[in-house]
Subunit: 141 residues, 2 copies
Amino acid sequence: MESPQDWPTGRLLSTAARLVEHAWAERLETVGLTHAGLIALHLLGEGARSQSDLARSARVQLQTMARTVERLERHGHVTRQRDAADARRVLVARTPEGAALLEQAQRLESEALPPVSDPAALRALLLEVVRSASGGRFPAS
Amino acid sequence: MESPQDWPTGRLLSTAARLVEHAWAERLETVGLTHAGLIALHLLGEGARSQSDLARSARVQLQTMARTVERLERHGHVTRQRDAADARRVLVARTPEGAALLEQAQRLESEALPPVSDPAALRALLLEVVRSASGGRFPAS
DNA sequence: GCTGGATGCTCAGCAGGCTGAGGAACGAGG
DNA sequence: CCTCGTTCCTCAGCCTGCTGAGCATCCAGC
């Protein structure tokens, strides 16, 4: 009960994620990004996308993504503007500063995961989990 | 970039954890517990433990555990009292209600992880990650 | 004894998830 | 047209992580 060995797998998953996220966040701090911000910046790609589109891709709720984007905008990493063609949408695009940051940050991100005996197997298993748990909640992403 | 397949492993880990946690929380809601509360309740065992002790075991900060315990107390799942032997400590113990809830909740927790091709391998790999990422941050847990 | 470091806790405040409620715009159908 | 359902977004509020600051207590060493 005291040791992680005896924990249920779900709890192990959450804990591992949190620990890795922390290491990751520490590095990102040096370039002035949070991990959620990096994901959003990454998903943006070259063109502009709507917030709900980003949210679906990132597997988070629209409200969560809206706040992340708002923070990125406040720091000058992205711009937001109403879509002229569909006034419900807000189009988000990277600024040059955002693009520059993204490039630095991506190099840091890959270093955050501690070395593990079989990285490919870990990836494959996590992918299985994501796929099967995304069902319904984030359709057609 | 759009699909999880192309994500870095750390991001996959976080996403998988969040999705599983969500499924888990949904079930726990039916018995009136949050996932953090369940962990604390579980780690308590039969006897009383101090908050910092619980925090170390759960791999969270003392402040986080304090708030979780405070919530459990508010709902009548645990009791808190100053340690007579060391007045800095707060001793936390399960109430009978808390113990009853725990038993129900543990059955639910195990169902939350979606079936995966090699559960044992997933466990083993996650355990590696937790072990190597706990270093320094949560000594001698 | 007293002082000073270590330890346990609380308070305040931030970021990132979530839900629920409600407003504005689009679009299909009567 | 106009209505009604859907979609996109915002606002408010909760829970869980985190940090930093500050307080009380203990204990070792002088």
